[in-house]
Amino acid sequence: MMAIAESGSGPAFPLLSALVVVPAAGALVVALLPRYQEGVIRVVGLVTTVAAAVLATFMAINFKAGADGFQFLTRQQWIPEFGISWKLGVDGISLWLVVLTALLFPIALAGPIVKKDVKNYTAWMLVLEAGCLGVFLALDLLVFFFFFEIVLVPMYFLIAGWGYENRVYASLKFFLYTLFGSAFLLVGMLSLVFLHQRATGELTFDLVRLAESQSLAESTARWLFLAFAVAFAVKVPLFPVHTWLPDAHTEAPTAGSVILAGVLLKLGTYGILRFGLYLFPAAAVDLAPVLLTMATIGIVYGALVAAMQKDLKRLVAYSSVAHLGFIILGTFAFTRQGLSGGVLQMVNHGISTGALFLLVGMIYERRHTRQIAELNGLQKPAPVLAAVFMVVMLSSVGLPVLNGFVGEFLILLGTFATHRWYAVVGTAGVVLAAVYLLWAYQRVFHGEPQGDNRTIPDMTWRERGVMVPLLVAIVALGVYPKPVLDRIEPSVASLVAHIEQHSDFREPGVAKGRGAGADKAPEEPHAADGGHP
């Protein structure tokens, strides 16, 4: 029907399918290797994840900036009776999340060295990667749900098998809690699809078809949005459904925490943005105050609770509650600054918090404790570790020149334009972020080291190598975020236009700015998306 603005897609090379298949195939290879071949297994794991990273980089390089639709589209009939198809695509909203995922996995595998049962560990990690990439690429509701759920399995096994003391409780809680959320998602999705069929006669799980037809009654849409929102809120997690997070993060092995914070939490924020806002724009506008309220409470509350933690890893975990609150805030601002900032902040949080978990893991390996009270003066024996921790911490605090600032600033600026007082409270959270992190740094790294703290070794070359790409990203995204923002904005702008078209929301003129051409956009919504006969 429509001309397709997809570049590099078509039968030539199914890039996006390859992104999902490569880690899955790697997992299969690992599963077939004998258990004692630990060296080979590690190499296979690393090579696979690096291959996926190369593919993702290739995709990012060839991604057409300035286009708002889905690119590299892949579409295969899967279960035509139910209108389900294997449809993958990437736009400015998912692009950087895919890149983030593909870059974090090799780092998570190469960083902390796991000694126990390397085979299963590596295999689960690879399955996890395939699942995460699938979530961000899927454009079919059922395919999305499939990946969304599959991710739980490897994560559960990683926490339960390679976690710390309280891992059984934590993994169970993680699994059941998010599964509970997913039940809402499944019901919501099926209802949407069948109601859509009743209204239009077409049975389809295709995200774009469902979103563009907007066939639901107002109240129905609101209920379905709520069902989606519950599922994603648990995953984010939003206050007050966040308590699985500190347990899971703290008890997970280092690599698990890195992926959990870096990627898995984004499934929630991405989901609410991609599915909540896109499928139910009017309902999202109506219910925005609820989510904004939860987000702002989360920002302040997460910071306060983080400040009081005695366990360093738990502190970092709670900081995620605050940071993810910012992302939701920006999402429900419905301005391009807020939304772009939210998308960027998903990436930033993945980098910074992933790096923080790696660093906490390094401290644990040296001191076999995460209790802040037992750590002190580490800057003296380990100045490099301290310096790296400082940079990562400042990125998390939102210091300009580093990545976190750009995202936070855009979010707050964009939110202020439409929801003034939420932004003011959110800005107060910026002050609090400095409190808990600097206080933790002071207690752990400053002072005269006592006892075992005096003799810990500084970062090894391998550890430095693992941190370098993260540090580079932290600085690069802070100094020159333009290439990233340029690719995010068109998709975000067309989402805003979609919301404006289907609700009474109007983006303020200052946010649109000069020459944004946003007023024209609703005339041909998502024209660049295609693939529908």
């Binding site: 739980l152 750009v406 202020f416 600097l438 002071q442 333009k482 200052v510 649109k512 944004a516």
Partner: protein, 658 residues
């Protein structure tokens, strides 16, 4: 090619120094790393001079140029570039920041000699200079904010430079967090300006200053208040001043550079930059600014009278002098604010460096009650300190006299009460500075009666700080003059502190150089109240008399007397800064901490998570009958899902026909 397009060189040179030292600092070592840092600053100073010369060659109305580098944060209507604004105000700031920065870098080569982390010190110092220069040269609020936060971070690094000392670590954190409260205001001000005008640039067709007149009084007032909140944090005004006295935990050159001459003036600079917005605000807002400034000036001056630590006196004095600048801003006397900022940078940097020289010469003694008679032992330090003392006291003819005069004239124009507070502050300033001079350089050699240096070294938790390689510390208890790298900056600064008034002599209209020079930056915002010549002379005479009175009182009470005789002049309340700091600490540490603790352990654990676990228990017990079907092992469920997925995949693959 426009010379002014090269303005980026001014911040870029210290940045280059930062990177060089970051990579090779350790190899360069002591003192080479210091020389690299100093050269970077010298280069920046030269670049600033070139820009200054170029601006001078242009006619007044053309003295504004934007040097664009690249797009920084472009999203929709928000288009923020990394671009530098070269105008009289920014170049004035850049000149004194690089000039004094260079001198203090040089001084640090001597002061930090022998410190284990000598190269690291210069890494931070160069990074600070870079941030400060970005702050003053930025052409939009967001880039200014970048510099603003950058100097804050460097201040944090440098205050806690001797991080093994608990008090230094705490002070660094306190400075950063307190400043963040101010940053809150700065950020909201940016959001509000963007929401109202759609830009964060200062000038240009869409600029916030160009369009300041379009703002409603309400919005302009809100923006002015919010920016003022930022200034209150950064420039240590009431009630957020508490971090600055603690910041003296940092090495003394840091106190001179960051916590006296440059960073703390950033708040005043911001308000001056935003003058066109302040003009649009409700007069009550600028009155509030003036009152806070005057109150801070007076308050901090009283506290400075009762301090024993040589650096604490100067710290409270800095708070007080910043109060003068804020008072000037609130009175609409922007030129006076900048004038006093510059002269203050000269004499306060001089005083801090002199204090550092004393501390250095006495092997890390900071208690003035254990000093005395040092003029015989440290002649250069003494002579230069004298100049700084007279300048800050407002002794007629020296730089401080002229700039303070301008501030007070501005205050008189706003309200005689503000002027009165300013004059009383002037008296107190002359008094506490004279007290300091008499305690340190005159009287008995109290450092001799007590084995002060040995004792202080025992209590010093950071031994290597006090014992530089040069062989002092052990045995030799006699004070000594500092090396030339330290005394040379003192001499230069003493010269500037003496004649700095020449920048803006109110004798003839022609000699008001600074006022004419800054006119393009302030425009009509700087139309302050023109006082009759007679009034001006009277006001100046009153201020001069106050200065002499302060010196006289101090002479009677402190010259040649034992400090114990004067305990009545140092009430405990003043020593503790009216108990404000302690009050904050007890609120944050008491109810604040209790609330957070309740949220973390009672609310989060018991209530929120308790509900979750409660539901789980309920379900488990209720579902007990289903036990036979369900194994209760999540791993079995998980495996079930995994198995299902495999089956689904196999089925699909079969269907697709692979």
């Amino acid at each position: 090619m426009e010379v002014l397009d090269a303005a980026w060189l001014i911040p870029a040179l210290p940045l280059a120094g930062f990177f060089t030292l970051l990579v090779a600092g350790r190899r360069l070592g002591d003192p080479l790393a210091g020389w690299v840092g100093t050269s970077a600053m010298a280069g920046a100073f030269l670049a600033a001079l070139v820009m200054f010369g170029r601006l001078l060659s242009l006619p007044g109305e053309e003295r504004r140029h934007v040097a664009r580098l690249f797009a920084w944060v472009p999203v929709g209507g928000l288009q923020v570039d990394v671009a530098f604004l070269v105008d009289p105000l920014s170049i004035t700031m850049a000149l004194f920041v690089t000039g004094i920065g260079m001198l203090i870098h040089l001084y640090s080569v001597g002061y930090m000699h022998g410190d284990e982390r000598f190269p690291t010190f210069f890494v931070y110092l160069n990074l600070f200079a870079f941030s400060m220069l970005v702050l003053v040269l930025a052409d939009n609020l967001l880039l200014t904010f970048l510099g603003w936060e950058g100097v804050g971070a460097c201040s944090y690094f440098l205050i806690s430079f001797w991080f093994t000392r608990e008090s230094a670590a705490v002070a660094g954190k306190k400075a950063f967090v307190t400043n963040r409260i101010g940053d809150f205001g700065f950020m909201i001000a940016m959001f509000l300006l963007f929401a109202s005008i759609g830009s964060l640039d200062y000038y240009g067709s869409a600029g916030v200053l160009t369009n300041a007149e379009r703002l409603s009084t309400y919005t302009a007032s809100a923006v002015a208040l919010l920016l003022f909140l930022g200034a209150v944090g950064k420039s240590a005004q009431l009630p957020l001043f508490v971090w600055l006295p603690d910041a003296m935990e940092g090495p003394t050159p840091v106190s001179a550079l960051i916590h006296a001459a440059t960073m703390v003036t950033a708040g005043v600079y911001l308000l001056c930059r935003a003058a066109p917005i302040l003009v649009e605000a409700d007069p009550a807002v600028t009155m509030l600014i003036a009152v806070v400034g005057a109150a801070t000036a007076l308050f901090a001056a009283t506290v400075a009278c009762a301090q024993d630590d040589i650096k604490k006196v100067l710290a409270y004095s800095t708070v007080s002098q910043l109060g003068y600048m804020v008072l000037a801003v609130g009175s609409g006397a922007y030129v006076a604010a900048i004038f006093h900022m510059v002269t203050h940078a000269f004499f306060k940097a001089l005083l801090f460096l002199g204090a550092g020289s004393v501390i250095h010469g006495l092997h890390d003694e900071q208690d003035m009650k254990r000093m005395g008679s040092l003029r015989k032992w440290m002649p250069v330090t003494w002579a230069t300190f004298m100049v700084g003392w007279l300048a800050i006291s407002g002794f007629p003819g020296l730089s401080g006299f002229w700039s303070k005069d301008e501030v007070l004239a501005g205050a008189w124009g706003r309200s005689p009460l503000l002027w009165l507070a300013g004059v009383v502050t002037a008296l107190l300033t002359a008094y506490y500075m004279s007290r300091q001079v008499f305690l340190v350089f005159y009287g008995e050699e109290r450092w001799r009666s007590e084995p002060a240096s040995d004792k202080s070294e025992l209590t010093e938790p950071e031994p290597e700080v006090g014992a530089p390689a040069g062989g002092h510390g052990g045995g030799a208890a006699e004070p000594h003059e500092s090396p030339w790298v330290m005394t040379l900056p003192l001499v230069v600064l003493a010269g500037l502190a003496a004649v700095g008034g020449l920048l803006n002599l109110p004798l003839f209209s022609k000699t008001l150089f600074l006022e004419h020079w800054l006119e393009p930056s302030f425009g009509h915002a700087a139309e302050h109240h023109v006082l009759a010549t007679g009034t001006k002379i009277l006001l100046g005479a009153a201020a001069g008399a106050a200065a002499l009175a302060g010196i006289g009182i101090a002479y009677v009470r402190w010259y040649g007397r034992r400090p114990e005789e004067n305990q009545a002049l140092e009430p405990a309340l003043l020593k503790r800064a009216w108990g404000l700091d302690a009050a904050y600490a007890s609120v944050v540490g008491g109810p604040g901490r209790l609330a957070a603790s309740w949220a973390a352990y009672t609310f989060d654990k018991r209530i929120v998570d308790g509900a979750v676990n409660g539901v789980a228990t309920l379900v488990r017990e209720g579902g007990g009958r289903l036990r036979r079907v369900q194994t209760g092992f999540v791993r079995n469920y998980a495996l079930g899902i995994a198995g299902g997925v495999v089956l689904l995949l196999a089925w699909t693959l079969a269907r697709v026909g692979l």
